[in-house]
Amino acid sequence: MRLRKKTRERLFIASFLAGPLAVYLVFVIWPYIETFGYSLTEWSGVAPPTKTVWFKNYVDLFHDSVFLKALGHNMIILIVFPTVTIVLAMFFAFMLNVGGRRGGLGGVKGIRGSAFFRIIFFFPQVLSVAIIVILFQAAYESNSVGLFNAIVIKLGLTDANHPWEFLNSPTFVLWCIMFILVWQWVGFYLVLFSAAMQQIPRDYYEAALLDGAGRTQTYFKVTMPLLWDSVQTAWVYLAVAAMDAFALVATLTPGSSFGGGPDEHGEVLATYLMRNFQVLGKAGYACAMGVVIFFITLILSLVVLRATRRERLEY
């Protein structure tokens, strides 16, 4: 009897796991593993690869000037984008949760219209990247019809005959992309930080208040340190997003296939990878690039988690 019960349970577990695991292994895990295998081959991407070249692809990568340029751009995005996003999101979250003028006991309250702001700020998160792309394509238009040019012309920064180039400018293309990334993600981290802030006991704020702390001081001495965990998580996720940026760069920046222009000034690793695979017929090389990106992301995440490790406070 007891054995039969155990067998029945085993059968049940197996039957419930079989479907999900099969789909997941076939379409997610296996392709990721294959990326590693293919990276060791010379492969055009048409027939199955035949020639194993071991680490040649990896050696080539570090002599490839476009790859190095793209890597540099990703590093810039990796530093600027998460920093700006986290700072903005923290500031907004603080304003929404404890930035209010007065809230009876201790004055710990969000500003008026918090719920409204939260809904709006989060909104870009529910838009498809395709919509975001088309939206900013039109907004960045390098003539007076584009929304941003209409704004800078209105502000008198330039006139209608000399509209700004935005995405066609070698200097600004990367910043234009980063602006969209920040625009897209601030709301998400605002909600994340808000959730974390609301778990901070109100007594802490009240105690700080009684000790005569001002608002700025409360922010830096109470809120920030207690949010450290969330900031870490945010940084890791933002780093993954920063290494990606594929859809934005591929469709918004000038270039014949997968963007990257003008003249490689907007190139990132993800777009260069796809171009090697789909256009240049260097699928093995593209896979090697994928593996490098994977390890960069992994190492960065580990470094951040280790370097910023602090004692955790449970409440």
Binding site: V28, P31, L105, L127, S128, A130, I134, R215, C287
Partner: protein
């Protein structure tokens, strides 16, 4: 739920009312006032900045929606122009140039992919959360580790994998891929949820002679409804908005018509508009694509925000 925690109900919201405890005296009140004062400048600056950011978020979106009502001349004129005639012409043009087909294809795929994602996700999460067996931890981490991997890394082999199964440009191919890529988050989220459910009801069902399968479908799933709704909305939004996967997998293979998904179709429409120049139709198409998402977001905004951020909170 969370917002209630920081708010103090009895507080007078009007400006100018004294801060601090009613009847409070001495240093407490004094300090409270100081707190309020340092806040004032921060408040003006901060609120102003937040309003600007709000405009930055809403501005481009509203501009697109308005653009759908303008005619080509107005669109090519000043960006500040207001549409003269509020007509839905652009919407019907967009509808007939493909949006209706994209919409139909997307809905067909999503009906199956979201249901299957939820079923598979719930099954795996349930077994992993509530049963002890060898390899449990390993399988769980195998599923969850997928959350960190960017999709585009697997695109190259994924394309060949789907091609080997002769599923390129088919509904079933895309459905299975959507299900597979939604597994990590769905399992992760529901795993945590199933852990919190009490086991008393479940045990009672077993004693009454229900099989494990029956106990799952008739007892545990109904109890997990809030969790299922959150993650369900998340999956609907995510799969509706998915762009990269269909771009690679839903291409015409042997000259047959490609089944474009909505996001993908919009981008191809954008490229096409570059030649024909019918931007109002493009903007109308975008508006059509945004409407369902907006409706879902506004009606379930709490669950959406909770669902999306749950993935990153521990």
């Amino acid at each position: 739920m969370a917002a209630d925690m920081t708010q103090t109900p009895p507080a007078a919201p009007g400006a100018g009312t004294p801060i601090g405890k009613p009847g409070g005296s001495g240093p407490g009140t004094e300090r409270s006032r100081r707190f309020g004062e340092t806040g004032a400048t921060l408040n003006v600056f901060g609120t102003g900045f937040m309003v600007i950011w709000g405009i930055m978020v809403l501005g481009p979106v509203l501009w697109v929606v308005l653009g759908a009502f303008k005619n080509t001349g107005e669109l090519n004129g000043s960006a500040w122009s207001w549409p003269h005639h509020w007509s839905f012409d652009a919407f019907s043009r967009a509808w007939h140039t493909g949006i209706s087909t994209y919409l139909k294809d997307t809905v067909i795929v999503l009906v199956f992919s979201v249901s299957l994602t939820m079923l598979f996700g719930a099954m795996a999460a349930y077994v992993l959360a509530r049963f002890e067996f060898r390899g449990n931890r390993f399988i769980y981490y195998l599923f969850v580790s997928g959350v960190m991997l960017p999709v585009y890394l697997a695109l190259v082999p994924l394309f060949f994998q789907v091609s080997k199964l002769h599923m390129l440009n088919t509904y079933q191919g895309l459905i299975l891929v959507y299900v597979a890529f939604s597994m990590p988050f769905t399992v992760f989220f529901l795993h945590a949820f199933f852990r919190t459910l009490p086991s008393a009801v479940f045990e009672a069902a077993l004693i009454d002679g229900a099989s494990h399968t029956r106990a799952f479908f008739q007892v545990m799933l109904p109890m997990a409804k809030p969790g299922l709704i959150s993650v369900g909305i998340f999956n609907i939004l995510g799969q509706w908005n998915q762009y990269l996967l269909p771009v690679v997998l839903m291409q015409s293979q042997h000259g047959e018509a490609p089944h474009y998904m909505l996001s993908q179709g919009l981008v191809s429409l954008m490229v096409a508009q570059g030649y024909s120049g019918d931007f109002p139709a493009l903007f109308a198409g975008m508006t059509i694509a945004m409407l369902p998402v907006m409706a879902v977001y506004l009606s379930f905004q709490r669950q959406v925000q909770a669902g999306l951020t749950a993935g990153t909170l521990k």
